[in-house]
């Protein structure tokens, strides 16, 4: 009888998961050095940017799962079956930030695949076809927010074909659509500006509100991209259309929402 209040509190807590701010875990990966693999060119700011994003999230208080650069970022980190590796897999943390090369078609078609390309010491091959090999949020995968700062891995024309299979429990993914004529530039600010918009340290939280992942990318993802068709893209999954739209527009990394059933996807984009 005297524990009735305790049971009541437990039920209330279970029914109101959004009432409590979550502390998501994160991993970062940045590939500057592509020369050892005979591809490229090198991207001067990718590894430093991944480091800066890691520093910011750590400053906010998020626990780090891994933070790899250059040869320590492996192709296998992005492929289903090996992406749960707690030593670096992209499905092991709640937030995963990648900065490096993608592969573009000029121009892409609806059936064109999207790629992430690294230059790993192990975990070959280095190139991952996202639509056929990447599955996030399945089989115990923890990834909720994928930030893919790699040029073309979210081509708008092929988004429906290439990204629906990927959404297996992940909440929101962001990236760019572009071409060799209108591409992303290897920025020394886009990643940290985005990180500061989605995760605000306590010392600044009264002055800078935490933005949703989708809105933060629409604001920061347009920095250092070329005009003429390069676009910042954010996609979210949901059980219903309204759920997907709500997550796309409003979900924050600290919401602690449960994984969506990916019946629907909602996306938005803004182009230079």
């Amino acid at each position: 009888m005297k524990y009735r209040w305790l049971v009541g509190f437990a039920v209330f807590s279970a029914l109101c998961p959004r009432a409590q701010a979550a502390t998501p875990s994160f991993s970062t990966a940045g590939v500057t050095s592509y020369s050892p693999c005979g591809v490229g060119p090198d991207l001067p700011f990718s590894a430093p940017m991944a480091g800066s994003v890691a520093n910011w999230f750590a400053f906010v208080g998020f626990p780090n799962v891994s933070r790899w650069t250059n040869g320590d970022v492996w192709g296998s980190d992005f492929r289903d079956g090996t992406d749960l590796d707690p030593g670096g897999g992209s499905d092991a943390p709640n937030i995963y930030f990648y900065n490096g090369h993608g592969i573009c078609q000029n121009p892409p078609a609806a059936t064109s695949p999207d790629f992430i390309t690294v230059c790993g010491n192990f975990g070959k091959p280095d190139t991952t076809t996202i639509g056929t090999s990447t599955r996030w949020g399945n089989a115990g995968g923890k990834l909720q927010f994928a930030i893919i700062d790699a040029s073309c891995p979210m081509d708008l024309v092929s988004l429906g074909n290439q990204w629906f299979p990927v959404l297996q429990g992940i909440h929101v993914a962001v990236g760019h659509s572009g071409s060799s004529k209108a591409d992303t530039l290897n920025s020394n600010r886009r990643g940290t500006d985005f990180a500061a918009k989605v995760a605000v340290p306590p010392i600044l939280s009264w002055f800078l509100p935490t933005m949703s992942v989708g809105d933060a990318w629409m604001a920061a993802g347009i920095e250092d991209i070329q005009s003429g068709g390069c676009c910042a893209v954010a996609i979210a999954a949901g059980a219903t259309e309204a759920d997907a739209v709500n997550r796309r527009d409003n979900e924050k990394v600290t919401d602690g929402r449960s994984n969506p059933t990916p019946n629907w996807a909602a996306w938005k984009w803004v182009c230079r």
Binding site: N55, R67, S180, T184, N188, L208, A266, V270, C271
Partner: protein, 294 residues
Amino acid sequence: MKNARWTLALFSAMTVLTPSLAAQVTTKPADYSDQAEMSEFHELATRVLRARLDAGAKTSADANMIGMRSAGILFSRRLDSRTFFIQSLKEVEGEGKTAGYFQGTDEALSSRAHELLERLKIPRGEWAKEAVLQENTQTGRREASGKVTLGPISKGRRTLTLDRQIEGLPVFSSHLKLVLDRSGDVGFMELHWPEIPPQVVTEAHRLAYKVKSGWRAPELARAKVESAEAGIVHSVAPGLLMDIYPAIRVVYAPTDENVGQKPMQYFDRSGRPVPSPRQIDAPCPDKQDRRKEK
């Protein structure tokens, strides 16, 4: 090498000096008390927001920020930079989006942006390229068969962006970003327009002269130089530090057109990379080394 160190030391010193130089171009308050600071900030907020603050308005200052929350609006600024933030708290909580987007013309959006810049005393001569970016939205449903049915493309909110230049030199990291809500009030504004020390502008002019006079960008394997432009680069808007450097921004295009993301680098007059402007001075986590053979 000695020259490089000297250059680095000079601009590090400029970074440190920035607040004091900034003080020369802003009006000095007559009273340095906390109360006077808050009162001054209230006056600024009233002027900028075109609104009377409600009785429950709260003002606070901490670290390098001062801010005010009133009637569902957060107005804040950095104390070490001419950087302002306005955010509709309803928008942040998602309520604003369900109410719809600003329906006015691009000209009306532009006009509101200009008004804000003037109220915040941003020199008109520094306003550069302006653009209105249209957000688009779409949904899709996955049928049991796996077939994906796409919905129509709809128009979302619009963001006005305005770049900055000083004496014809681009300030790559400065900007205004503005979104209005359905009623025409500010839903989101980020104005990042730090005071730039005159020595930095002078050096940027010298760099521009060098670019015109045949300065050659360092080569990068598997890439060719797409553009080289002198200007000024500085720290991002949200942060605890403000570094400012004159630099030549070089954009490279991969020789293989299928490789996405173009390298970019900022160089000094000798062709050495300038330091990346910092955001925070937080200790780096231990360096890791992933040794795991497959």
